[in-house]
Symmetry: C2
Subunit: 410 residues, 2 copies
């Protein structure tokens, strides 16, 4: 039992989950290209065709044999015979013979024999069938060769890649209008606590509305998962256990968000310890807010016992559940972007724990300022008023006003 | 005509659209809270209730009159009579009389008469009805007062705010389970060019598949809009005009993405000049890639003529159409986050234009590196291989290897 009740750092806690949990990737579903944005590729995409499918001009001008233009200048132009106008969208089938050329537009097909294009700016039309080229071009100049963008048989995108607008465009380019992606992992969400009521009800004395089911549900969607709202549970072992078991049956991950009392936390810990093997992996993280986090693994599925405070619940979601969702989809993850700002006041932090501080961004003439949002830690408005968070690393005792900080947007 | 054919900077071009276009905000729709994530609030949210609805303890311990604990210490504790256990979710109705206390858990309701809570760590139970308090508390200590988080009648969130997970939680806290948000603006997307075919078809010689309809459609979704795929148009004035008119009837914005030839660009410019008043506002932007951008305004609706190159089309989308979508929803915009990286090689840039360079991020022991993705500008793989872009501002002539750059993720 001992190792389970020792408080771990954030990275130790994640490592413990990562090494103990070999996730089964979610099933594959095939989507129309227009619905696949932001989804995670289930298979590598190998190009079925060359892109472009033929050598194309990148400028408006004249398709030439480069050798015909060597030495051409304003004073001594190369005179070429215009043998055709290449039509956009049409095959260019005429063979370009010596000292001949064809008019071509950007994107037009290079005719056989041509190996370069002279920009129209470097030409003068002498008469209807003769053009004077006043500057030389090298072979390949102003041309994109067949397959130069995407080679048939080449890997275009790896499995686990999250599809961005440009990737969707590249899939269209190779004619792949259906895409195999990972299904969104299902995340069962349970709120526990005798004092919690659904938001549509009017609280009686002593009761408060459920916040975490809703904020966590939105966080699940935004991380690419599908929230499954399992509702409220009283603070009794049996009722929490029943909800968790129902969640494990239908979901890939179960998230329990406690009320805030010791009693609630105890019930959550007892349920997670007994719900399946190997049980609790992490009980407490050196993190503020979010210390009382529980992570268990039950027959291959992670169960998270999040702190009841809405702020702690969302922070621990970002640090642990979001990457867990990525793992379930085989996501190749990328670092999270931030904004730079200068801190407006000193911030103290206890060394030995990682602290996440909510800040409001203020735009000033000298740049962005990060103003810590004060207020007791359980207040949801400390989050609604904030634009982002900054991190005080575990080894630091605080940050001095004026320090440049990295702000991660909420 | 003159002013229209002068190349503007990015900010001048945006300013010209902004001052000439007074957008009509999209209609309001009412959504269930669980579907409102990432949507834009149509109305300010004013709290109907106090949160919390009663004064609550923030710790596990004993509710007290603070005055009863003044001067208490290990050596001289304050002995208080335990008159009740406050149950979670129940009203605490007993009046706390002098030298009396009640057991309370985190989140429990403060009984009338109590004004503070002593943490259980600073107490010792003497017998079943007496507790010794060994440290004093100040009035208000370990308490969140009724309405301290959200005051009834206070502005919780302004109109135009994009709902994040914490905001969804705050709406649940005040019992607002339905939310009025702005409808997604409709963006009509047209690809023009005689050489363009739908991606499900096999290109014949001279033909290429449509990329931009798909990449732009995904970009529209990701900016909160609804793509309306209007299909392909040949490079003829009449057919382009017909598509644009159809788009203006049903959409809030129309986006035309040209083929790449001068002919295509001319047709687009002619259509935009004649499709309605005031017509073309911007014709050319000091931007690379993306210079040949056209922006027109037709009877109050913007029409964008984007360059045909997929890379240019997406970049000009981000710079102009994305903020235009925000304006249609009344979005309060926020700055875009980035990553810091060091440039791996020198980059030259012509002064007088803003240049956006695609880079790949490399994680190394000394931090992130930004490696420019080389390749001819029309290649879609220069985007699929990139992680983000860096900006060389209009006044700079380039960037030196080793410079710290801000990378905006794709």
């Amino acid at each position: 039992m001992d190792i389970f009740f020792q408080v771990l750092t954030v990275s130790e806690a994640w490592a413990r989950l990562e090494t103990n949990w070999q996730p089964k990737l979610t099933a594959v579903e095939t989507l129309e290209l227009t619905c696949a944005h932001q989804r995670i590729l289930a298979e590598p995409v190998v190009a079925a065709d060359d892109v472009p499918p033929f050598s194309r001009s990148t400028v408006d001008g004249f398709a030439v044999r480069a050798a015909d233009t060597f030495g051409a200048s304003e004073g001594l132009p190369a005179f070429l015979t215009v043998m055709a106008d290449i039509q956009m969208g049409q095959a260019a089938e005429m063979q370009l013979s010596l000292s001949h050329t064809a008019r071509i537009a950007t994107g037009g097909m290079l005719p056989p024999g041509a190996d370069a294009v002279v920009m129209v700016e470097y030409t003068e039309e002498v008469d209807s069938s003769t053009v004077a080229v006043v500057a030389p071009v090298a072979p390949g100049e102003n041309v994109v060769y067949r397959g130069e963008d995407i080679k048939q048989g080449a890997l275009l995108l790896p499995a686990g890649h999250r599809l961005r607008p440009a990737d969707i465009g590249a899939l269209a380019a190779i004619g792949q209008t259906k895409v195999a992606v990972r299904q969104a992992p299902k995340v069962g969400i349970i709120s526990t606590g005798d004092e919690i009521i659904p938001p549509e009800e009017v609280p009686q004395a002593g009761q408060v509305r459920d916040i975490n089911s809703y904020s966590l549900g939105a966080a699940v969607s935004s991380a690419g998962g599908e929230p499954v709202y399992l509702g409220l549970s009283a603070d009794k072992f049996k009722s929490v256990q029943k909800k968790v078991r129902a969640g494990l049956q239908n979901c890939d991950i179960v998230v329990l968000s406690g009320g805030s009392s010791i009693g609630t936390r105890d019930v959550a810990a007892k349920v997670l310890a007994k719900v399946g093997q190997p049980g609790i992996l992490v009980h407490g993280v050196a993190l503020r807010p979010g210390k009382p986090l529980l992570i268990a693994l039950c027959e291959g599925k992670p169960v998270f016992g999040l702190p009841g405070h809405p702020v702690s619940a969302l922070l621990t979601f970002d640090l642990f559940i979001k990457p867990a969702l990525g793992r379930l989809m085989g996501l190749i993850s990328s670092p999270r972007p931030f904004l730079r700002a200068r801190l407006t006041r000193n911030l103290a932090s206890a060394p030995g724990r990682e602290e996440h501080v909510r800040v409001k961004l203020l735009e000033t003439e000298t740049g962005l300022l990060a103003e810590p949002v004060l207020g007791k830690s359980g207040l949801i408005t400390t989050l609604t008023e904030a634009d982002g968070t900054i991190v005080i690393p575990v080894e630091k005792e605080g940050l001095v006003a004026g320090t440049e900080v990295e702000v991660y947007l909420l």
